[in-house]
């Protein structure tokens, strides 16, 4: 790889070692061979035009945006300053009010057909969408208008992917996933909230290979969602040996035995939590003694409850 790249990176305060470590991490998450590491590195060496992103907030809790703010490989400031051009994002953009709306129009015009739309949150559809509005538009209108012009739509989190808590019973606003509300097909970074690594991995895949990653039938990228949590769980040998935790705080819990009897939904849940873990690879729920609640699966609030019992 050209040396100029490292000079430019160093100007940004990123050491060669840090940078290659990060590229190795992303390459591994994507399931690509080590031979791809230098190519991944090139993707992050900031070409002239950064890919534009318009990020929409529908009915949600902003947990997915918060998850993105925890991105450490690459750092979140690199993501927003050097890797992507996040043209619209209600939580962290500096503009507000009318200026924010103008910015959305501007970005839609400038990047027509060329931007990635990221959607966080479900869309209330009852009474023609009146229960969710941003500025003058209902979320339903806004979603239609923006995704129509997008190169591709990535739905981040369970709400935009599958409806999430908004669509759980009794669903007073008839909230729906983005695909169901708008009749489109999106790539789904499922989870509540998902690991930001899987969002970044999807974007890298796009920048590197010029296309979005291969997905399962629900639209979840295979690099992250092709295996069950159960199949990758470090507690699996305890499961096979019939060594189960039957009460929180017990000796078995302190030993890290299997949480199946405590309601663990790992066997029905597709995600890479045990491998990539959260917050700089620090931990994931089962490691911290809590059963998996299945948060990357469709309708998990209704489907997976009760969380602390096997059905």
């Amino acid at each position: 790889m050209e040396n100029g790249l490292f000079d430019r990176l160093e100007q940004k305060g990123i050491s060669r070692r840090d940078f290659m470590k990060f590229c190795g991490y992303i390459t591994a998450t994507l399931g690509l061979s080590a031979a791809y590491v230098p190519r991944v590195a090139e993707v992050f060496a900031a070409g002239k035009q950064r890919p534009a992103v318009i990020w929409l907030h529908m009915a949600e809790c902003t947990g997915c945006s918060e998850a993105l703010l925890r991105s450490m490989y690459p750092w979140i400031d690199e993501l927003v300053l050097e890797i992507l051009a996040i043209e619209y994002h209600e939580t962290i953009m500096a503009a507000a009010g009318r200026q924010a709306e103008e910015q959305l129009e501007y970005a839609l015009n400038k990047y027509k057909g060329k931007f990635i739309c990221v959607v966080e949150g479900a869309i209330p559809t009852k009474d023609r969408g009146i229960y969710g509005r941003v500025g003058k538009h209902t979320m339903l209108e806004l979603g239609k208008k923006v995704t129509k012009e997008a190169l591709a739509t990535i739905t981040i989190g369970n709400c935009s992917s599958f409806g999430g808590v908004q669509a759980a019973k009794p669903n007073p606003t008839n909230a729906k996933s983005i695909d169901d509300a708008l009749g489109i097909k999106s790539v789904k970074i499922a989870g509540c909230p998902p690991n930001p690594v899987n969002f970044v991995g999807t974007v890298v895949n796009y920048l590197l290979l010029g296309k979005l990653p291969a997905t399962d039938s629900y639209g979840r990228p295979l690099f992250a969602y092709s295996k069950t949590v159960h199949d990758q769980c470090p507690r699996r040998s305890h499961y096979e040996a019939g060594e189960f935790v039957t009460q929180f705080g017990s000796e078995e819990a302190a030993k890290g035995w299997c949480l199946y009897e405590m309601g663990c939904k790992g066997p029905e849940t597709y995600n890479n939590c045990p491998i990539v873990k959260f917050n700089d690879g620090t931990s994931w729920p089962v490691e911290a003694g809590h059963p998996c609640i299945g948060c990357s699966e469709p309708n998990f609030w209704d489907q997976m409850a009760p969380f602390y019992e096997q059905k």
């Binding site: 962290i92 500096a94 917050n279 994931w284 911290a288």
Partner: protein
């Protein structure tokens, strides 16, 4: 259910909540509020040398120097020159209400970027005992699930060192930055205040609540600190006269109901999805300022010392606290105090483990029928949960959350909500670019996109703003 959770569970919950306060308040100041005071575009004009000198004078930040600030400035320049302004697009840059010189703006912009990394790093504390952040999972009825991690020396050490790095940032960067920014905006110590304050309190230091809460519980009416009294859950009501819900005008949360009406068919009176929470019928501000005032009024040692230090540095008296600036300062004041207190909780936990006390969970039977209330203070303010259980299932569950207290609409008596009250009299240089409104609204750390209506009495122009 008459359940007492083990000491270790209480301490671990406090540590997780403490880390939440540190992270949340840092993000609020730098990433959700600072750009109301800091003109990033002006930072491009700064002399890195003068910036380095300024930074050395005001803070003990572990980063700085001419090369460092030159690097940050170059990074911003490259970003702006790319023509893709991204998140900085179309904001109020150059607005006359921005008062800081370019050097101070560059210093703040550099710390904005540092804080972005620090907050992400700090949340490893949540992953250690919570499994992940956001949406940590280990806190359960009866205690906490992370007994294995609590008994792992490397996990404990990892927590302690992450905490230390974060608390260092708070005392060496965040606090000095708040003082530095505030020194340019002292006029905001007389703008944006409210009258009544409410806090449930947080961080129980024994099994006795509310007596042992580190941040105490209390209510203050009409800014009368001497009259501070205990807050009781029975005195809370939620009012829907001006909200898009049907049902009776007001109810206690135990009996609360949430039946939305179609805004198109609801007439002119309702204007909000928030209900209007009231304490003894009065609107109350909740959050850092309310907590600090309640603590200050009760003679809380740490909060009093930190508050007096900040007031002294700025050369203002306690009346300055009732303002937009006071709110932003209070957030930092309590972060410093709570963050420091975490160390003693951590040491108490280690002491318990040494003694062989490793309990983290108290077993319980789900009752057939029960009622319960949970009162907490989270970074944004008072949070109450009211639950009715029938047939071992949740029959009704109502939450009264901080942003509802602060952003709720008028009630049937026409009393304004706290943010509405705070905005009255805000000077606005340019009604088409209401930066000043953002300052006050953001100082409450609102957790929702909210609709604000502002009327300019001079031109009688009505502008509608979305504040995010």
């Amino acid at each position: 259910m008459g359940l007492t959770i083990p000491d270790n569970a209480r301490i671990l919950r406090n540590l997780l909540m403490g880390a939440q306060f540190q992270q949340d308040h840092l993000v609020h100041f730098y990433h959700l509020h600072a750009l109301d005071w800091v003109d990033v575009v002006s930072a491009l004009k700064a002399d890195p040398k003068a910036t380095a000198t300024l930074a050395d004078n005001v803070s003990d930040a572990p980063f700085g120097g001419v090369t460092y600030f030159k690097g940050v400035q170059n990074r911003l320049k490259t970003f702006v020159d790319s023509g893709q302004l991204g998140l900085l697009s179309n904001a109020y840059w150059g607005h006359p209400a921005y008062k800081m010189p370019p050097e101070a703006n560059l210093m703040a912009a550099a710390h904005y970027l540092e804080a972005l990394r620090m907050q992400a790093k700090s949340m490893r504390m949540h992953a250690i005992f919570g499994g992940k952040n956001p949406h940590l999972q280990t806190v359960i009825a009866g205690g906490i699930t992370c007994v294995k991690d609590m008994l792992s020396p490397d996990r404990l050490a990892e927590f302690l060192y992450t905490w230390k790095e974060m608390q260092d940032f708070i005392t060496k960067v965040y606090l000095p930055d708040v003082l530095a920014v505030a020194s340019f905006y002292k006029d905001w110590a007389a703008i944006g205040g409210t009258a009544n304050f409410h806090a449930w309190g947080e961080f129980p230091e024994t099994a006795n609540e509310p007596e042992s809460l580190y941040m105490p519980r209390g209510v203050i009416f009409k800014r009368n600190l001497a009259g501070v009294k205990m807050a009781e859950e029975s005195k809370v009501t939620e009012h829907i006269h001006h909200a898009w819900y049907k049902g009776s005008r007001f109810k206690h949360p135990y009996d609360g109901e949430t039946n939305p009406v179609n805004p198109k068919r609801a007439g002119k009176r309702p204007y909000s999805w928030f209900k209007a929470p009231r304490y003894e019928g009065e609107p109350c501000e909740v959050g850092p300022l309310a907590r600090c005032l309640v603590a200050y009024a009760k003679g809380h040692k740490d909060i009093k010392a930190n508050t007096d230090y900040v007031l002294g540095k700025l050369g203002v008296d306690t009346s300055a606290l009732f303002s937009t600036l006071g709110r932003t300062a209070a957030r930092c004041i309590e972060t410093v105090a709570i963050g420091a207190r975490m160390e003693s909780w951590f040491l108490e936990l280690i002491g318990n483990i040494k003694k062989g006390n490793t309990a983290t969970f108290t077993p319980y039977e789900m009752p057939d029928k029960a009622r319960g209330v949970g009162l907490n203070d989270v970074p944004r303010g008072s949070l109450g949960h009211w639950i009715n259980i029938e047939d071992k299932k949740i029959e009704n569950y109502q939450l009264v959350v901080p942003s509802t207290w602060n952003l709720g609409p008028r009630d049937e008596k026409g009393k304004l909500g706290p943010v509405e009250e705070a905005l009255i009299g805000t000077p606005i240089a340019d009604p088409k670019r209401p930066l000043e409104v953002l300052r006050t609204v953001h100082s409450f750390d609102p957790c929702v996109a909210c609709g604000v209506h502002v009327i300019d009495p001079d031109s009688n122009e009505v502008y509608k703003f979305k504040v995010r």
